[in-house]
Structure formats: structure tokens, C-alpha cells
Symmetry: C2
Subunit: 375 residues, 2 copies
Amino acid sequence: MQAWPRHKAPRQTWHDAGMSSAFTDLCRYPIVQAPMAGGASTPQLVAAVSEAGGLGCLAAGYKTADGMYQEIKQVRGLTSRPFGVNLFMPQPEYADPAAVEVYRNQLAGEATWYETQLGETDGKRDDGYEAKLAILLDDPVPLVSFTFGCPTREVVQAFDRAGTRTVVTVTTPEEAQAAQRAGADAVCVQGIEAGGHQGTHRDNPETDSAGLGLLSLITQVREAVQLPVVAAGGLMRGGQIAAVLAAGADLAQLGTAFLVTPESGAQPLHKQAMTNPLFVHTELTRAFSGRPARGLVNRFMREHGPYAPAAYPQVHYLTAGLRKAAAKAGDPQAMALWAGQGHRLARELPAAQLMEVLVAELDEAKAAFAARGAE
Amino acid sequence: MQAWPRHKAPRQTWHDAGMSSAFTDLCRYPIVQAPMAGGASTPQLVAAVSEAGGLGCLAAGYKTADGMYQEIKQVRGLTSRPFGVNLFMPQPEYADPAAVEVYRNQLAGEATWYETQLGETDGKRDDGYEAKLAILLDDPVPLVSFTFGCPTREVVQAFDRAGTRTVVTVTTPEEAQAAQRAGADAVCVQGIEAGGHQGTHRDNPETDSAGLGLLSLITQVREAVQLPVVAAGGLMRGGQIAAVLAAGADLAQLGTAFLVTPESGAQPLHKQAMTNPLFVHTELTRAFSGRPARGLVNRFMREHGPYAPAAYPQVHYLTAGLRKAAAKAGDPQAMALWAGQGHRLARELPAAQLMEVLVAELDEAKAAFAARGAE
């Protein structure tokens, strides 16, 4: 287990004697609430998780820089405990405009059906990254994580000076090495079980079928780099948190488990779908955003997934209105029902109570494992 | 943790005081060497693993009943410790003969290139199941496991009477429930990380992208059935074994880790490919056998995988000669290089030494996890 760099004086700390995790001063329990862009990670959810001894995370993705800042201020009004903010990295312009136009034509019938328009696809590809950086460096938060790429050394160093810890989302050992080269403080290791977008640094359809399961990935990343590991992907129970810690992770990150809490801002239809027996499987799809993301298999995914182009965020803009119209019409079959592979195990409990249950399960799993005796 | 049914008097037992696993009398350490059909699981490998305190397993698949029996006798000559035998379940006739003929035409150039013939596809689909059952019931072994389906209650009961434990390979919670209904003693939970064939009970291309990662699957199966769990898929290190045990598995099953041992009968080219930097990714493919199996991505998989039909074992017969000819020509690009997602972590150690290293790593991971203090 690697220690956080010593030069960083944590801004807000408390200590649970006996806990050896490198994240001791950020959270009492080794549980991170995953940043879920699109509305689920409300300030209320983030604050509730941090208050309960976990690490809550805001999702800046798809928000304006000011929208992000308003949420940060709301969290600060609700808790004095540490929390994180997740940023989407700017995307290179490599999508094929012709492929996006073909997809637009293929979705024309959907727009007619839901009585809406397909979106313009010339929107920005940088998600307001520079403006968000400026705010976060001006008024620092305890932790910033990055998705869809790796920040530069300069950005990481700026956060270092600000006393902010940096975490880069990775899906391969090579991406973890890039994070280490950039000077990041930790990696968030995302297995293919994870709900929502895969944080792959560069989307490449050729490796669509080569994604690694979480337990394989944790070990390969730990052998490739010397950084603390946050493990993400399909984690729903304390026993699974115990498993990733036993494999050497420092923290476990859970998204779908928190998506169904009352504090989450996910659409009610989205929450209900998690345990609706209509939705049995999840799949990775480019149908909604142009980048692989895991969601419950519904009509839209089945129909359009097979030919959706690798064109993020263009396809995200293209389908935004459709998804909203479907939600408004109460039809989950054309919504992006992001979900991890453990969605059927979702429990609709208030966040603080879910934290309690997870910690109790973790303790129980740890005791049961210890009781197996000498092996 | 569930106990094995009490009525079964273990045929060969020894006991390691303090070990609480339900498999105590079968092996000292919670490590199973996966049965690897196709030649890797030699009697020498199986005996070496069982002698070292693990549970070695023969693979009856693709062998004649008599070939299987000769191997059982060889194992018995090498060790008095328990071991297992894995059977392939008979396959229903649902493959489309026209699709197989189309695939035959698509592979014509391969046959020419490797100066060989494509195989006849009217071979048996039952893998000599009944004849193998007769031998195993006449002269019982400690454990029999099943792949590609679930045995009937009658077969399970016959093994019960013979004192043989039964394990059914499963890839979904629903398959685990079928195993429980049939009366099986345990399930082998196979995550999508696993090398070689997925043991899915009925091959269905519609759910090709819905396979579950091991850690998600263990928990979902444990909540669906009351059976001991053997966890398989991508496990290469003791820390990963610790992880699956912490998640509630009783044993960990490793294939690729043992494939590279000198006792393994895998082709030398196959062993070398595991850590050859030419082969970076694995994928599930029907290209070689007609059923999804995970192997190192090579030319043959890239070229033919996208259109290979769901037709097992017909495609297995079709490509058998090709694969042999490629191996003979020293060309790994048309061999079935089965490998789990952890292949890059393979260590070419004698099986007994690998067992020692795995147990030491397991102990270390367990101690490190316990030392994390109160959480």
C-alpha cells in the first residue's frame, strides 16, 4: 500500500486510529461514491456520503463551470468533510462527421416518434475544462478526479500546489502508467463491470471486446504502477468491497449502489429500472453518447447500438433531446439507463443508511475471511 | 459458507485443523487447477497440484471414454490425493447446418494456406457423455464437474450414491439455480475473465455482450443459491485468490496460471504466447469452436471471429485440422491460444512451486487486509 505524497498537507483531516489506508485523512471508511454525470450526484448525495464517513464526489461533466461551482458551494454548506469533483477531459477531434450524419439519419424515426428534434453536433468537445480548472485552482477542493484521459503534468502540479489530490480514471495498465508519468496521486481502476461511461483515455473500437474485469485489472495495475488504487465496477455489497481491498485496492468506488438512494438526482424511471425484472442485462453501448457506456439493455440500445459510431461527444449532443423526451413521456426504452453489472442488487436506502449497511457487510466479510484459519 | 452434504463420506480425506472451508477434506489449500480440455491438464499436472495441496482436475472433454479412464489411472498411480474430472455436457442439435457450410467456404483459403483439410462436421455432439458417466460411476473419483450445461437430477443422485462430489460450471445466477435444482454439491462460478470456453449452459448470441465479471457474478450467485462456490476467471496471483475468498467463494480455480507449467501439456507455442508482447489482448470468439471461448487475439480470430456461427461442436470439428497444421508449422496466428485476462502475469514455474508461491501470496494478502485495522 503506497502512502500519499507527504508534501501535501490535507486541508481537512481526521484520523481513525489503526486504519492503514493511504486515504485515511479523506474518509473514515474505504468507500467512495462514484461521480455520476447526468444528474445523479447531487450535492445532497455527496454531502450525505461524506457525512457518513465515505467520500462523496460531484460530477462536473456536462455542467457549466459555474454550475459546477454552485454545486461545490452547496456541498460546503451541507458538510465540512472532504469530497471530490470529477472532470471530463477534453476530447480530440477525431470523430468522422459523415458517420455522425449517417447516425442522424438512422435516428430520424426516433425523433418523429418522441416528437422532438435531434441535437446539433457541433457543440464543444472540451466540457469547459479550462474554466473548471481555473475555479478549482482558485478555490480548491480536497480531491479532483479525471475521466476520458490523463491531465498534463502541469495541471497535476498546479493541483499539488493547491493541496488537492488528483486521481486519474484508468481501464488498462498502460493508462495507469500514463497517470503515474503525469504525477497523479492515485488511479481509479475501472473494470468493465462499471455502469455508465468507461473512462478509457482514447476510444478505440478495435479493443471494444478486450475490456478487463475488475479483479484482473486491479492486479495488473498494481504490478504496473506504484500508486494507490481506487477500485470501481459492479460493487454493490460490503463483501465485494472486502474483496477489492484484499486484492490490494485502497478504496472501493460505488455508483449504481448510490444511484437509487433518495438523495440521488437520477430520474425516478432510471432508479426504478435497476431492479425492474424487465431489464435483466447490461451492455456497453455507443448508442447514446458515441463512447462505450454500460446501461440496462433497452429498445434503443438493441436497435441502434450495433451501428452507433465512435463519436463522443457528438452523439451525446445528438441524442440529448431524444433522451429527455423519452423520460418526459415516461418511456424508459429510449432513456440512457446507465447501470453497473450489479444493478439487480440495488437497495433503495437513504445514503447514510446504505453506508452503514455496507460498512457492516465489509466488517462481516473481513471477519469471515479471517476465520477461515491458516491456509 | 455452506457445508457439503453430510451424507457423503469423503473417500480420501485429510484435515488441516482450523480451516473452515467446506472443501477441507478435498484439498489443504483453496486452490483448484482448472480442467483444460485440449491437452494442458495432463495426469502429471493434476497429480502435482493435488500432491502440493491443491485440487488437480483432469479434462475429459474431446477425449474418448477410454482415454479419460487411462488418464484417471495414471493420476492414481502418481498420487493418492483427491482430484477431479471435468465432463462436457451433450449439446442439443440447434446449429444451423447452412451457417456451418457458409463458414466452411469462408475458411477454404486457410485450409489451402496450411495445406490441410477442413474437418467433417457431422461428428458426435455428446462427447461420449454416457460412456464416461458409466466409467465414473463404476470406478468413482472424488469430484466430477460439468461444463456446457447441467446434469439431470438422476445423474447427480447416482454420483451422490457413488460418493462423488458434483460441481456445475455456471455463468449466471439463473444457471446456478438450475444446478441447485439438480442437486449439485457446488457451483463453479466462471467470470468472463476466464480463458478458454465459457461454460454457459445454452449458447445464445443475443447475450454475447452481457457476460458478468467474476466479482459481480460471485455475489449474485451467492445471493441466488445456497451452494459452495468455486470462483474462476483471470486469477493469477494469491492476492486475487484472497479477494474471491473475501467475497465468499470457498475455492479459487486457476487455469492460465497452470497452463504454462512444465507439467502442462499445452503446445510450447501456446505457453510462450502467454507472455509474448505480440499478444496483448484476449477476446471471446466463436472462430475456433462455434462457442464463445477466450483466447489471445491473433490473425485467425481477428479475421474469422466476426462472422463465425454459433455452432458448437461443429466448428470445433471443422477447424481441428487447421489448428493442428498451424501448430505443426510453428504459426501461432491460427492456433486457438486460449488464455484468461491475466495471461501477462503467467509464471513458468513447476506446478508445486507455483502452488507454494500462490499460497504465500494468499497468506500475505490476508495478513495485509487484516492489518488495515478497524473500518
